[in-house]
């Protein structure tokens, strides 16, 4: 495939998605800049989708075991928050304030992604030669180190965090980010790169023997995954207008791992569905207060016992319906 075609194929979901999101934004947004509960819940679910799909690149596609996703979220979130807070009173000359604000936010998100990716590279380079649980410990440790560093840095607001962030996240931004993340994952999976990752997952030694640069591919997968975690972090903090270390504890990392495994390792649509199911189930259970997490844990155990490979296994949603599968593959 030549380059223009690739760009076109990648852009199609966005071209279709943005107008729909635009309409949706109008439909669920409340009057006068307020948000309905549905809109907020959808945004939170969307952020979880980004997290789950991006972690799937490392845990599902590549078969590595990372449990420090919240650490990368924090890096992206703090970077973006620092930028938007510092530029809150500024605007780009010659364009309306609203547009300028959104452009700055876009820049902040990209910067957050870049910073998270850089951190992913720093953590990934030395640690990805570790296997399984050892890698898990390093990522968990990184998550904790990031939290400890934030709590001890005055520049980052210590335990209180950075408050007074401008409200920037909306359905449109979350929707675009979700589409980009899913498109990234799907395109990656279909590419040579993705095949190499799958080979590493299935048998690392065999893959290496076949000439796959396993470390290189693993590090790249890790960097991509970290960048999107950073994006999710940036979106989250501009939704609640507050950036605190409490949003990025290792419990958050565990929640994302749960979504990935529940959806099925390596299944993009599985991650999406699991993230949505868990987000909405938790929200629906909010009324029952103390019983909520108990019911959540029972649901988790029951789902895993009945579907041990996750909701979709390694398959995608269209693989379930033979007719549709033919259409997609042809």
């Amino acid at each position: 495939m030549d380059l223009p075609k690739i760009i076109l194929r990648s852009a199609v979901p966005l071209l279709i998605g943005i107008p729909i999101l635009w309409i949706f934004q109008g439909a669920v947004g409340g009057p006068g800049g307020t948000e309905t509960a549905m809109a907020v819940i959808l945004m939170m679910a969307g952020i979880n989708v980004i997290l789950a799909v991006s972690l799937n690149v490392v845990n599902g596609f590549t078969g590595q075991f990372s449990i420090g996703h919240a650490g990368f979220m924090a890096v992206g979130a703090y970077t973006a928050a620092k930028i938007t807070v510092a530029t809150n009173s500024l605007e780009i000359v010659g364009i309306p304030t609203a547009v300028s604000d959104q452009l700055i936010f876009l820049f902040a998100m990209v910067a957050g992604m870049a910073m998270a990716a850089l951190m992913g590279l720093l953590v990934g380079m030395p640690s990805l030669r570790l296997r399984g649980d050892y890698l898990a410990i390093v990522t968990l440790g990184f998550n904790e180190i990031i939290r400890v560093l934030i709590e001890n840095t005055e520049f980052l607001g210590q335990a209180t965090g950075i408050s007074g962030l401008p409200k920037r996240t909306n359905i449109l931004w979350v929707g675009i980010a979700v589409i980009v993340t899913i498109a990234m994952a799907k395109r990656l999976l279909g590419s040579t790169h993705g095949r190499a990752l799958l080979a590493i997952r299935e048998d690392e030694v065999a893959a290496e023997a076949m000439g796959v640069d396993t470390t290189g591919y693993k590090v790249r997968a890790f960097v991509i995954s970290s960048a999107f975690a950073g994006l999710a972090g940036a979106l989250l903090v501009h939704q609640i207008q507050l950036c605190t270390p409490r949003s990025f504890t290792f419990i958050k990392s565990i929640e994302v791992v749960v979504m990935v495994v529940l959806g099925g390792m390596g299944s993009v649509t599985g991650s999406v569905v699991a993230a949505l199911v868990l987000s909405f189930a938790l929200e629906g259970l909010r009324d029952v207060q103390q019983y909520r997490m108990v019911m959540y844990s029972v649901l988790l155990i029951a789902l895993m016992l009945t579907r041990p490979t996750g909701i979709f296994g390694t398959r995608e949603i269209w693989d379930m319906i033979p007719k549709l599968r033919k259409k997609v593959s042809s």
Binding site: L140, M265, P308, T309
Partner: protein, 309 residues
């Protein structure tokens, strides 16, 4: 110098606890290759089991060594049973599946115990069940006596902890390397299906491993709660993670590794907080761990297994 020695005593007292909990992780991992995420919560249940038994015996009115023994053994038995039940219902159905699957049910069990214990009371009493999130006072199982050699403060609790912990470790070492059951355990750990073919009852080995590991967690819980008498349903969270770190640090699946890992983690945390920056305590402990892992990817005592295609 006194301060240095005091830190040594403190560090050892924390380290033995980490080591005891880490043993549970490492044994289960050894036979099942599963991170028993709920292990920290079994430890928490151990503390509460001890509390309920103490209440029943009236330990707070008149503590005695006999009662302390009953509390200790009772908590160990309850936790061993809990460990076996968790294995039977949450892990065994998934044994042939991918390892991560069982990890998620382990997380589920962990949440179930943590949040289940935070529910409003069903059975009322002085300490209701479930106990709810409020911290509870754990009555001292026996009278506390303080010693002060060379200006270093040591209590009989520290000594008992150390003796009991070391005793358990030696016993475990004996069980694993000197008994028939230990041989079976190591065989299952090496290759469960081949061990089965050799006439070893794999299920029984796994059940006993869980019982032993959970019992050790309960022992650790009573030792901690006796001297640090405030317990709550999230008690197991931090020690659970730290003991897991200690187990991996020492080379997960390795008994001596877990002991040494626990002691090193306890001591390094102590000295970091005592002499360097206390606010970076957890961060530095993890940084140290990462550096060691990068230097020795299989942990301190872990054996590198040649990989074959």
């Amino acid at each position: 110098m006194t301060e240095f020695l005091q830190h040594l005593v403190n560090g050892l007292s924390v380290g033995t606890i980490y080591a005891l909990i880490a043993l549970g992780y490492t044994m289960v991992y050894g036979v099942l290759k599963l991170i028993n995420f709920a292990h920290g919560d079994v430890y928490m249940v151990g503390a509460f089991a001890g509390l309920y038994i103490s209440r029943g015996l009236g330990v707070d009115q008149e503590p005695s060594l006999a009662k302390a023994g009953v509390v200790f053994i009772g908590a160990i038995v309850i936790c061993a049973a809990l460990g076996v039940a968790i294995e039977r219902f949450a892990y065994r159905p998934l044994r042939q599946r991918a390892r991560l699957t069982a990890l998620i049910t382990a997380i589920g069990v962990s949440f179930l115990l943590e949040y289940g214990f935070q529910l409003p009371p069903v059975i009322d009493g002085e300490v209701p069940f479930p106990p709810g999130p409020t911290p509870r006072f754990f009555p001292e199982p026996f009278a506390r006596v303080d010693f002060e050699p060379f200006g270093v403060h040591i209590s009989n609790y520290d000594i008992v902890s150390l003796v009991v912990a070391v005793g358990f470790m030696l016993a475990l070492q004996y069980i694993v390397y000197r008994t028939k059951f230990g041989t079976a355990m190591r065989a299952v750990s090496f290759d469960a299906s081949v061990a089965g073919l050799m006439g070893i009852n794999v299920n029984r080995v796994i059940v006993w491993t869980f019982a032993l590991g959970s019992g050790l967690a309960a022992a650790a819980a009573i030792l901690v709660a006796g001297s640090r008498p405030s317990i709550n349903p999230l008690l197991g969270l931090l020690p659970g993670i730290k003991a897991f770190v200690a187990a991996v640090f020492g080379g997960i699946g390795n008994v001596q590794g877990a002991m040494v890992g626990g002691l090193i983690l306890g001591l390094s945390e102590e000295y970091v907080a005592g002499y360097l920056l206390s606010s970076y305590r957890d961060g530095i402990a993890f940084a140290l761990l990462i550096i060691v892992l990068l230097w020795r990817p299989e942990g301190l005592f872990g054996r590198v297994r040649a990989e074959k295609v």
